[in-house]
């Protein structure tokens, strides 16, 4: 039985933190687009979306990159303070890091800062250049992320091997077929075809095409492996009091969250077909009073199809063993019962490293602000479940977001 941790903020309260703007640029391969250039562009887009200017921001949180050790080591968060011209007034800038779940933890950090009064207006920034990085350097760098160098790296394990083992265990435990796993990739592609920012916009995909692509790491075919991409996005959070003062009509709040760090390296996970999702979900429901039936849409980390199927089962969207078949039946498709990863997810919008989860979060906020392009906007949506995971699927993180009216 999970703890019952009370969230010390409530809808409409002056200190209740709210999301008020998002920014994103195209995901794909853009070698000419620089790292700081992209961060600057998404910062300005998010600020404009929030009706703010850089001077309004007092805190910058940076989501890290995995494309370059040099860019990772630099104090890019404070460089962005200077690039945006708020040096001298900005109070604090730093990086949050938990791999692919960083965006979820960045939300918790910003939420706590605003609710407690440490910050007023927080800008969260992310940029990754995986699509343009040197492939061998990137694979080698990734092999040091969530993999203990002295114990597991000597086996030659890397990210697709980790995804392949989780996929195989999931298929074994659930009896899901290769066709059902491939159909998840097709669902994501169907959404990407509605997202002009997606790497695979207007590039339809079929189950046959997935299964006839090269075998990369049995049982994963090439089209079941995440496409490495360049991408950047940003979001702005403020307090309800500030949002009211600024005349912001609609915003998004955090109704609760839950998480579980189930392991660091994959060999120490007791059940690769379950991971940390059941405990994360129980904690999220306890904190919010929500259940799995309360969401209008889902934005769940999908670097591999099995990762999402496992999450859907842990969250209780699909019965145990039925996650892949739930998606393969079209439930998460455009026009389906419960839209899933409406930007196309990591598998079809593009895997931007630590940013893949950020892009899903930003899409969830965008949907709840009712600012998605009309062809993929979920009409009247009020509530979304965001799911993230980092490293070797070391954690399961759930954010429950709901639309709110600060001025009401």
């Amino acid at each position: 039985m999970a703890e019952n941790w009370t969230l010390h903020t409530s809808p409409g309260a002056a200190n209740d933190p709210v999301f008020v703007g998002v920014g994103e640029i195209r995901t794909g391969r853009f070698p000419e687009r620089g790292f700081i250039e992209a961060l600057t562009r998404v910062a300005i887009l998010a600020l404009k979306d929030a009706g703010m200017v850089p001077r309004d921001i007092d805190t910058i949180l940076l989501i890290p990159n995995l494309h370059s050790a040099a860019d990772q080591a630099d104090l890019v968060f404070s460089r962005m303070v200077e690039e945006l011209g708020i040096h001298g007034s900005c109070k604090s800038s730093y990086m949050v890091h938990s791999g692919g779940s960083t965006s979820d933890n960045a939300v918790r950090a910003a939420h706590g800062l605003i609710a407690a009064g440490h910050a007023q207006n927080v800008l969260v920034l992310q940029c990754e250049r995986w699509g343009s990085a040197d492939l061998n350097e990137m694979i080698t760098m990734l092999s040091k992320n969530g993999i203990p160098g002295e114990w597991e790296l000597p086996t030659g394990i890397q990210f697709n091997a980790i995804g392949a083992m989780i996929t195989r265990r999931y298929m074994h435990a659930s009896g899901s077929t290769p066709e059902e796993m491939a159909a998840i990739c097709v669902t994501l592609r169907n959404w990407a075809n509605l997202n002009e920012n997606a790497m695979f916009y207007e590039k339809p995909l079929t189950v046959e095409r997935v299964l006839s692509s090269q075998m990369v790491a049995d049982p994963l075919h090439a089209f079941e492996c995440p496409p490495m991409a360049d991408g950047a996005c940003a979001f702005v959070m403020t307090s309800t009091e500030n949002a009211k003062k600024r005349g912001i009509g609609s915003a998004v709040r955090l109704a609760g969250s839950g998480g579980c760090v189930s392991h660091y390296c994959l060999s120490q996970e007791p059940d690769q077909a379950v991971l940390g999702w059941p405990l994360a979900a129980e904690r999220a429901w306890n904190q919010s009073g929500w259940g799995p039936q309360d969401a209008d849409l889902l934005e769940i980390y999908d670097s591999y199809a099995a990762v999402t199927a496992i999450a859907l089962e842990g969250i209780g969207i699909a019965p145990k063993g039925e996650g892949a078949r739930w998606i393969a039946a079209g439930n998460g498709d455009p026009g389906g019962k419960l839209p899933l990863n409406t930007n196309g997810g990591l598998l079809s919008a593009g895997h931007t490293g630590v940013g893949g989860g950020t892009a899903l979060l930003v899409e969830g906020i965008r949907q709840l602000l009712h600012r998605a392009p009309s062809k993929r906007q979920i009409e009247g949506c009020q509530r979304a479940i965001i799911g993230g995971t980092g490293g070797s699927y070391m954690d399961a993180q759930i954010l429950l977001l709901e639309r709110t009216k600060p001025g009401a």
């Binding site: 002295e150 030659g156 989780i166 195989r168 265990r169 790491a217 994959l266 060999s267 690769q272």
Partner: protein
């Protein structure tokens, strides 16, 4: 670079054809991977036990492309996660059955320790005869 003692001792075991599992001299419980303090009782009084080398294959994969730096020549190779009968888990290499053939391996197969993977500081396992 000097390897931490727990790493060099584990690797010396592999080189001698033994799979060592760290064992806490205070609470008597095994740890894997080896730790600097017992995760159960926090004791630093840690020793080793020789594993019987039998276990169950939780999952595995065959990597055919995209090896990390230094592993290119090993392609294709199979990596598995084994749950040892001593109650701890570890990542290993799996022995092919014939030329680059792992097609008979299944999750939950009984597997056994063969020895140190040639040229690598990790354990090699194979399917047990049923």
């Amino acid at each position: 670079m000097n390897l931490p003692k727990i790493v060099s001792e584990f690797r010396n075991g592999l080189a001698a054809g033994e799979l060592l599992v760290q064992n806490c001299n205070e609470c008597g419980k095994p740890n894997m991977w080896p730790r600097y303090a017992c995760p159960l009782c926090q004791s630093e009084n840690l020793g080793w036990l020789k594993s019987a080398g039998k276990g169950t294959l939780h999952s595995f994969c065959v990597l055919r492309q995209g090896a990390p730096g230094g592993f290119e020549a090993d392609i294709p190779y199979a990596i598995g996660v084994v749950n040892l009968d001593e109650g701890v888990q570890l990542a290993v290499r799996l022995q092919p059955e014939g030329e680059e053939d792992w097609s008979a391996y299944r999750c939950d197969d009984r597997v056994e320790f063969v020895g140190k993977e040639d040229g690598r500081e990790c354990a090699l396992f194979r399917r047990s005869a049923s």
